[in-house]
């Protein structure tokens, strides 16, 4: 056994390092619950910003919701927006500093309920920003109430008998709607429940930031996520529940590949 311990000591050596936390993530312990997808997505954003070398140009906009404190963890400039208004705040930043890199980080309540108008119109203007959308089908911060993306039959604090379409309407596939808008350049839906998904999601986030650099329009990355506390499952069960229940409603993949789709638009004559 001591032979193994000695061997490990040998291996744990800077020259053998293959993965270490991004230098853009500070040492604060994240306030998220154990297993929360937010932590993974935060890390991916930090890694992408670091790898692209754009820390000094990037301004993040955090939402109201669980990710309100995103600004505590990633070492870039941040603005904290009012509930749902992150796309408007990001528009303001980007319009006066078009040379900077601007992204919003929003949950389903923020982006797809209270901020629907700001979301749609920012994308419809083709704002050159990145929007990261965490969809976990529930309101985490306020204690597990129904979100616009809550599944039919899903139990939440405000749908104790399950979401009922007669009362509550339908789960909102806002990403599909946004993909219809000419201003949207890149629209994709990802997840982070296993290593392969995480690596794919990171590529998507990187692509989104590259689209911004190319000034092609809005780059929108939905990440189908878990909320163990809200779903009242442990993190491993949450991932399984997400795969079984969320993915049929919110299928993964690219909805728009990165070229701005303004073909077929009609302009008045003369």
């Amino acid at each position: 056994m001591s032979e193994v311990a000695d061997r490990i000591k040998e291996i744990i050596n800077p020259e053998n390092l293959v993965y270490a936390k991004s230098p853009l993530l500070n040492d604060d312990i994240m306030h998220y619950c154990p297993g929360c997808s937010h932590g993974v997505v935060h890390r991916l954003i930090a890694e992408v910003i670091d790898e692209m070398g754009i820390q000094e140009q990037t301004i993040g906009v955090s939402p109201v919701g669980c990710a309100v404190f995103a600004y505590n963890y990633i070492d870039i400039d941040w603005q904290e927006a009012a509930h749902g208004r992150a796309p408007a705040v990001a528009t303001g930043i980007k319009r006066v500093m078009p040379e900077k890199v601007v992204f919003t980080y929003q949950g389903d309540g923020d982006l797809a309920a209270i901020g629907t108008a700001e979301t749609f119109h920012a994308v419809n203007r083709g704002e050159n920003i990145v929007m990261i959308f965490i969809n976990n089908a529930i309101y985490g911060m306020t204690g597990g109430q129904m979100a616009p993306t809550t599944l039919i039959g899903q139990v939440t604090a405000t749908t104790p008998n399950g979401r009922n379409v007669d009362l509550n309407g339908y789960p909102l596939r806002i990403t599909e709607l946004l993909a219809q808008l000419p201003g949207a350049a890149y629209v994709t839906r990802q997840s982070v429940q296993n290593p392969a998904a995480v690596r794919k999601a990171k590529k998507a986030i990187r692509k989104a930031f590259e689209i911004q650099a190319m000034k092609k329009g809005t780059a929108f990355v939905e990440v189908v996520s878990t909320c163990s506390s809200g779903w009242k499952l442990n993190p491993v069960e949450s991932n399984k529940w997400m795969e079984e229940n969320m993915f049929p409603q919110y299928p993964l993949g690219d909805l728009k590949d990165g070229s701005r789709a303004d073909a077929g638009l009609y302009s008045i004559k003369g």
């Binding site: 603005q79 208004r85 319009r95």
Partner: protein
């Protein structure tokens, strides 16, 4: 002396914004101030000064675009009219809480609700007592002429950055639609990145360079003791505004037995009323608060021991009159006269009210 022009109040807001080097305007059309954005768009300042002009999808979006751009250390403004300002209330509170400078113009119309597109001053309480949530104060300037519409945009930005606080220009439909001569300032350049670094380099989110800590624009603080301290810091700032920024005009008050208090276009009417009353031998003066917040309470308190009474003249149900009563503190009579629903009273009507409510009453 700058260029002399005949212009509408709303157009002058736009012209002054461009000329003073404003970086961005975000707005949404609403009567009676739509000419502000129309004038900006017609002037195409993005070609000359680089100023951004953007029509947002709502007043809510407008104020939060202002938030984002102001957080970048830029000089940013919006304008609207009463119902639109109500929609902005949340964002204004956030800006005050996050200590972001900006200029917000409210060309008031009558309410409540959709109300009327005719002029009003019924947003006095909204502007001076909050409107949004939390313990915050704006700095509120009340223009009474087209010239002041111009001057207060320039002054508004100076004050907004002096205090890192939103400044409201509380105009009304009369001043917005009025055409008068105005002297325009010469074109000033927008701030360079170096100037912004010098002025707002300790807080603006312009991208975190290696040699400084990250900047975070937020009004949020979970620790109650720190949050109380944040509030105390804001209150100290508001106290400083009270000490340094009170502005008013006192017209024929030296020998006055009665004083009218009125702001904005109501003060223009009262100026004529002073003449009419004095022709009849009644010694009447006028105090015109130029800053509604901070309110010129000291000058009113001083006159409270000298005059037989005050008449507050407002295009509303009597809002500023309460601030006058607080300043007078029972030392003399305080009455109110006003019209609502978009009706602008005549100087004779005010004179009759003065006689009925103060002199004979």
């Amino acid at each position: 002396m700058g260029e002399l022009r005949l212009m509408k109040g709303n157009e002058v807001i736009a012209e002054a914004a461009i000329r003073c080097g404003c970086d961005a305007y975000f707005g949404y059309p609403i009567t009676p101030q739509s000419e502000v954005m129309e004038t900006l768009m017609a002037n195409r300042p993005w070609e000359d000064t680089g100023m951004v002009v953007l029509q947002a999808e709502s007043e809510i979006a407008s104020i939060h675009m202002v938030y984002g751009a102001a957080g970048s250390g830029k000089r940013v403004m919006t304008s609207s009219s009463s119902p639109g300002i109500s929609l902005m209330a949340e964002g204004i509170s956030y800006m005050a809480g996050a200590e972001l400078p900006c200029v917000i113009v409210n060309v008031q119309r009558g309410g409540p609700g959709l109300g009327t597109i005719q002029p009003s001053q019924a947003d006095y309480n909204q502007a001076t007592k909050g409107g949004g949530h939390g313990d915050y104060s704006l700095l509120v300037l009340a223009p009474a002429s087209v010239q002041e519409m111009h001057d207060f945009v320039v002054l508004g930005f100076e004050l907004a950055f002096k205090y890192r606080n939103p400044v409201m220009i509380l105009a009304d439909g009369v001043i917005g639609q009025l055409m008068e001569k105005v002297v325009l300032i010469d074109q000033r350049p927008r701030w360079t990145n170096e100037q912004i670094a010098e002025i707002s380099g300790t807080w603006a989110t312009t991208g975190k360079s290696k040699n400084r800590k990250k900047h975070v624009i937020t009004s949020l603080e979970m620790d109650s003791f720190i949050m109380e301290n944040n509030n105390l810091r804001l209150q100290a700032k508001y106290d400083q505004m009270k000490d340094e920024e009170v502005r008013f005009e006192a017209i024929e008050c030296d020998d006055a037995e009665y004083i009218m208090v009125a702001f904005g276009s109501a003060a223009r009417i009262c100026q004529k009323t002073v003449q009419i009353a004095r022709q009849k031998g009644v010694k009447v003066g006028l105090i015109r608060p130029i800053t509604l917040l901070p309110f010129p309470e000291k000058i009113i308190a001083e006159y409270a021991t000298k005059v037989k009474g005050f008449l507050s003249v407002e295009f509303n149900a009597g809002q500023m009159v309460n601030d006058i009563r607080l300043a007078v503190n029972g030392k003399t009579k305080v009455e109110y006269f006003g019209r609502m629903g978009g009706i602008v009273p005549t100087p004779d009507e005010v004179e009759a009210a003065l006689e009925q409510k103060l002199i004979r009453g």
